[in-house]
């Protein structure tokens, strides 16, 4: 789960990281009044779950409350990478002497949190990693000990020359690590970490991604969820315990298992079709899940055909068959359904489906070809 900048800043602030004040507003008037309150120049920043807000025109400097209102009214409702801006953050503009990058994420190779810092901040760190990898200092944190003081110093020492700034930055490293841990994050970054002309080190942007697996025990973080820019179908899926991602095609996919679901999407593409979604109904074979899955897929008007691909291991295919039958009784599907079922209780499943007039396949290639064909026809 991605947090908004203002939410990430709240977490950072709670752990002592120096973050300028800010106000989240949803209207031009509020933006003006926030700007008036702060006095001086402010920045109006779109709060959407997307990078590249600046390039998209979602971050603007305002010299006056009136200008802040004008920017806010332009940015609110703006579309950034398919997401509608619902909120803006108004924050005092900071004078910047230098910009650095500080991030921590869970690293697969070392199986531990890893810090990445670079004195080239305010830019895309991935680009720095490609073009100038030596400009990034990396440090793997031993989860048995956490970030040790000398390690924080070592990181900070690569960013600054001034001992005072190094000391401030080392402190921020520790605070960032504690933020990361406390929030159950998979990634936390400050980009840029600035030095003001007065020599103060501050975080003026913040990005935090939460490990979804932490949310069950972090209700305060879960409460930060903002679904306003999330497709309704994905919200419904999450609440139903399904993993669903909306895509741009017309072949609705319903598969058990993430790997098989991706392979099914790939096969749709292979046969000339376009998948409408990723949907994993998971390992358990609860008929209710199938009903929910179908409800979510059919809510997408672009879907022209629904493709089931179920390989029964733990999942009992007869349960899935019953779920399909049940769903078609409850919901008006409106588009053809093609079904591939194989594995545990396959024979019984096929009987159930035949009884209800569905034609079922046992080959994945066949069923995908058929689905693509039907999508092209409709």
């Amino acid at each position: 789960m991605n947090l908004h900048e203002y939410q990430a800043k709240e977490i950072f602030r709670d752990h002592g990281i120096p973050v300028p004040p800010g106000k989240v507003v949803t209207s031009a008037e509020e933006a003006a009044s926030a700007a008036r309150e702060f006095g001086g120049m402010v920045v109006v920043k779109a709060q959407v779950h997307s990078g590249g807000r600046g390039k998209a025109g979602g971050v603007k400097l305002a010299r006056s409350p009136e200008e802040a209102a004008e920017h806010a009214s332009n940015i609110l409702g703006m579309d950034i990478k398919g997401l509608t801006v619902e909120k803006v953050l108004v924050t005092p503009a900071e004078d910047i002497a230098s910009e650095a990058y500080v991030g921590v994420l869970v690293d697969r190779v070392t199986q531990a949190p890893m810090f990445m810092v670079s004195s080239e901040g305010g830019v895309d760190i991935e680009e720095v990693a490609h073009t100038n990898p030596d400009a990034i200092r990396k440090l793997s944190v031993d989860p048995r000990y956490g970030l040790l003081p000398h390690q924080a110093y070592w990181l900070a020492n690569s960013l600054y020359d001034d001992p005072k700034q190094i000391k401030q930055a080392a402190k921020i490293m520790g605070q960032l690590y504690r933020s990361f841990q406390a929030a159950g994050a998979s990634m936390a970054e400050i980009n840029p970490l600035i030095v003001t002309p007065e020599g103060e080190v501050k975080a003026i942007d913040a990005k935090v991604s939460i490990d979804d697996n932490e949310l069950f025990r972090k209700p305060d973080v879960e409460a930060m969820r903002d679904s306003s820019d999330e497709p309704q179908a994905e919200i419904d899926a999450r609440e139903a315990g399904l993993t669903f991602i909306k895509l741009d095609g017309d072949v609705g996919c319903c598969v058990n298992g993430a790997g098989l679901a991706m392979a099914t999407m790939d096969l749709v593409k292979y046969y000339g079709g376009e998948p409408a979604n990723f949907l994993d109904i998971g390992g358990s074979s609860n008929p209710e899940k199938v009903v929910n899955a179908l409800r979510i897929i059919t809510s997408d008007p672009a879907v022209k055909v629904i493709l089931f691909n179920i390989f029964g291991g733990i999942t009992r295919t007869d349960d899935v068959a019953n779920g399909i039958v049940e769903a078609t009784r409850q919901i008006d599907i409106g588009v053809p359904i093609v079904i591939r079922l194989t594995g545990t209780n396959e024979e019984e499943a096929l009987k159930i489906l035949e009884r209800e007039g569905f034609s079922a396949y046992t080959s994945m290639d066949e069923v995908v070809e058929k689905a693509v064909e039907l999508a092209h026809q409709n």
Partner: protein, 299 residues
């Protein structure tokens, strides 16, 4: 032969009385796995009745189970909140090989648990994995026993059902398996492609290897380099997620394209450039293995 599990496996099931644990214990016992103990705190002293009517003793803790039954392998079906603790408990009790089936374990919990297991010298498979099966010998986890058959192919995969799909085609094509290992879909897994490749390399019966990857991370790329350096038998690869959009987690916590890293295209390229035959469709996996084994036996 086989890797990681075989007839010498003495299995303790952590969470044996839970819904998943009891179901799969029955399945594993039906397959012939030597399930020697179960663990559920508070249910010590009870027994679990296997499909043949045999009674498996249940203990409150893994150390008790190990002391009483000399269990050497554990499989974990406990809920996510307790699963990392269960891994550490097993490692602390001297279990050598720990298979963590549970999905949804917080990744920072697993960072600690992996460190702990390393300190204890235990191998962890998973978490969020389907386990493994050495056909005809032992099945630990949730892979369906009916689709595998003994033979010369070692299979290692990040996926569950996609593995079934691949194995299904292999078996139908008469290509049995030494061991099929599902390494799991999480970002921090205890046993990686390379560990399995190394183990298969020491198994004279494994004459071809199938490697099924997916988007996210760089394990496949590292494994590809390893294959070229160290693997003497033919390797066939498949990558799921060519159509996955960047930045979205495709079900598995580990299946996410971060920025430009971890795409399917990148991985398939790494496979090909290191001499691994890449299947475009799942069904092709078995075809490429058959061809490779024929080629190998001819040469």
């Amino acid at each position: 032969m086989s890797i990681f599990v075989d007839e010498s496996t003495r299995l303790v099931v952590q969470g044996i009385t839970g819904r998943d644990g009891s179901f799969h214990t029955t399945q594993m016992m039906e397959y012939g796995t030597n399930v020697v103990a179960g663990v559920t705190p508070g249910k010590g002293g009870q027994t679990f009745t296997g499909p043949d009517g045999s009674e498996v003793p249940i203990f409150n803790a893994v150390d008790e189970a190990v002391a009483a039954t000399r269990a050497n392998t554990s499989v974990i079906y406990v809920p996510p909140a307790f699963a990392a603790g269960a891994v550490m408990e097993a490692a602390d009790a001297g279990i050598d090989f720990i298979v963590a089936i549970t999905e949804g374990i917080p990744v920072l919990d697993m960072a600690r648990a992996h460190a702990f297991a390393r300190d204890c010298g235990a191998r962890v498979l998973g978490p969020n994995c389907p386990g493994l099966i050495s056909p005809g010998k032992a099945k630990v986890g949730i892979l369906p026993g009916q689709i595998v058959t003994p033979g010369p192919v070692g299979l290692v995969s990040r996926s569950g059902t996609l593995t079934y799909e691949a194995v299904y085609h292999l078996t139908r094509a008469g290509l049995g398996q030494t061991t099929c290992v599902g390494i799991g879909g999480d970002p921090l897994i205890g046993t990686k492609f390379i560990d399995c490749l190394e183990a298969f390399g020491q198994d004279p019966d494994t004459r071809a290897i199938v490697m099924i990857g997916e988007i996210g991370g760089t394990d496949e790329q590292e494994a590809a380099a390893y294959v070229q350096e160290h693997v003497d038998v033919p390797v066939v690869g498949f990558i799921a997620g060519q159509t996955a959009p960047p930045g979205r987690r495709m079900g598995h916590a580990g299946a996410i394209i971060s920025g430009s890293a971890g795409t399917a295209a990148e991985k398939m390229e790494a496979f090909e450039s290191h001499g691994i035959a890449v299947a475009r469709r799942p069904v092709e996996i078995a075809e490429l293995v058959a061809a490779a084994l024929e080629g190998a036996s001819v040469s």
